[in-house]
């Protein structure tokens, strides 16, 4: 028994555990929180700037000497009123929304079929087809829009929303296909074999087994596609000319910058309102989004 008694002096002398916890807390602050805060400031400052600019009166906006540039003294809704009632902003918003939904739906439809075929049917050369689809994604839109413009003109789609609904899939399909290939891979193949024995056809398997299990993947592919088409600039600039058919990113730049006069307040209000739908989308589906990128179907 004697050799198990603890010497009280030994305990008070060594403050090892406390020292260690102080050390680890300090280390955590330096290695995790400080970099995180810096990162957040860099990321969020543009949004902050956009938000306060949208609510600043012009006098404050241009006079930094008498006003604090990082704060608003007299907030106003003038910029937003001007944007909504003196421009076609609501119209642009509706067009953008329609185009984004249309191209997202088309791309998801094509990508689901492509990804399923490449991942599950394992036809001869499926790996190469997968690579080829990915290679298509690597062609930059700034080059691709020149030949695409020819196609759009030939088909008589110039200056119609279909010009965008049908060209956005050129970069959405490769991306969504690759995302979905990865997701389908995480669904156990036995489920499909079992359904095959149960009497399901390939399309029934896709519809009743694979797709319901791939919902998180579909949602994240959908969010990606929606965001990319919502923010797309170069095709929208090239293929649409009439003011009322423009999408938000193009319209606020071409309609709210008159000559060399930047209407900063309205510009930022337009950008702020324009980023809200995407932000709301992310907010609802962020969990699916993360789970689909980090993997695995849970039984």
């Amino acid at each position: 028994m004697t050799d198990t008694t603890i010497d009280p002096a030994a305990v008070t002398e060594s403050e090892g555990p406390q020292l260690l916890s102080w050390d680890s807390r300090a280390r955590r602050i330096v290695t995790i929180y400080v970099p995180l805060v810096c990162f957040l400031i860099v990321l969020l400052f543009p949004f902050y700037w956009m938000a306060i600019t949208a609510f600043k009166p012009n006098s404050e906006l241009l006079n930094y000497k008498d006003n604090n540039p990082f704060w608003i003294s007299a907030p106003t809704l003038d910029n937003i009123r001007k944007l909504l009632f003196e421009t076609d902003y609501l119209h642009w918003l509706a067009t953008t929304m329609g185009i984004a939904f249309g191209s997202t739906f088309l791309s998801l439809f094509a990508s689901v079929l492509a990804a399923y075929a490449i991942q599950r049917l394992r036809f001869r050369g499926s790996d190469y087809v997968g690579l080829a689809i990915y290679a298509a994604y690597l062609v930059p839109p700034s080059i691709l829009f020149i030949p695409l413009a020819q196609v759009v003109f030939q088909l008589g789609l110039y200056d119609t929303p279909f010009a965008l609904v049908l060209t956005y899939p050129t970069f959405l399909v490769p991306f969504c296909t690759w995302l979905l290939i990865g997701y389908f891979k995480s669904i156990p193949y036995e489920l499909e074999e079992c359904a095959l024995i149960d009497g399901a056809s390939r399309l029934q398997i896709l519809r009743r087994i694979t797709l319901p299990l791939a919902v998180p993947g579909l949602i994240s592919a959908g969010i990606f596609a929606f965001t990319l088409s919502w923010n797309e600039f170069i095709y929208a600039l090239a293929f649409i000319s009439s003011t009322e058919k423009k999408t938000v990113p193009v319209a606020i730049l071409t309609e709210l910058v008159q000559g060399d006069v930047y209407q900063w307040g309205s510009l930022m209000a337009g950008a702020l309102l324009g980023s809200l739908p995407v932000a709301i989308f992310y907010m609802f589906f962020v969990e699916y989004y993360v789970s689909s990128l980090t993997g695995a179907v849970k039984e």
């Binding site: 074999e193 079992c194 359904a195 095959l196 024995i197 149960d198 399901a200 029934q204 299990l213």
Partner: protein
Amino acid sequence: MATVSIRDVRKAFGSTEVLHGVSVDVADGEFVILVGPSGCGKSTLLRMIAGLENITRGAIAIGERVVNNVAPKERDIAMVFQNYALYPHMTVRENMAFSLMLAKAPKEVIEAKVGRAADILGLAPYLARYPRQLSGGQRQRVAMGRAIVRDPQVFLFDEPLSNLDAKLRVQMRAEIKDLHQRLGTTTVYVTHDQIEAMTMADKIVVMNGGNVEQFGAPLELYDRPVNLFVAGFIGSPAMNFVRGQVEGEVFRSGAVALPLPPGLRGAAMAGRPVVYGIRPEHWRLDGQGIAATVQVVEPTGSETQVICTLSDARMLGETRMICAFRERITERPGQELRISPDPAVVHLFDEASGARLN
């Protein structure tokens, strides 16, 4: 119900052949187990019966019909997978009804069949649950229920018990056997566990390296294994093998001499390298036989297993001999036992080919 006839079936993945001409006949209502070490091709063969793998050469017939080019769903089979393959987004009821729904069976028929299967398997209280809310044993039962509702000609099981803990495995083993006796459906079952094979099967197919080593009733395989592989694979603890040669009318390994099995003429194989096989329970303690030095004594109550070494004998693989006695053993490690084999039940194999000689 139907017979399953496998005729000289070969399977190649690219240029690698994994099944080298397998022939097995499963009679109507029989419970046949494919057993062998991993990579022996047993699961591939099962998947070929199911139609999930193409048949490179040969033919598989279910009933009278050759099914080589018949889609899985047309083969009238049901399969239970190792990880159960339950549809995670469907309830137990939906899982079991899925195949009937696809076949567009009337609602009342589906209800009746699912209800009956649930009663048989004790799943009635869980029909509204999702697979993730069930224990391993319950999931296993749902997988079987899904097979039962289809009332197929053949049940296929692919290592269905390997994900369960030891106690549950024993329980499910009895349940599957009982189910087979009640339904009488022809069953092909794959496992790597020879105890499962011994306890459940009407007939066992022992496979190794893409070939069938032996096909027969469990005790036939145990009592008269046709070669060294089957002898070593079937039985736990495994058969002991001693290397040596025949001299006169005895088997000799170093200084150890053992009696030949009855009916075997020693003169015909004098000097030939052979392997003497004896199961642990076929050693007798008689106070006179050969000397064995005790290393470990493992009493289980009903019997006592003794791990010992035979001085001077050359063993095959293992260097130690396992004996199982009905008697209680009082000897301590290091002490000597006198043991002799029961010559009526010993086995003799050719060392080069591994084939049985007696």
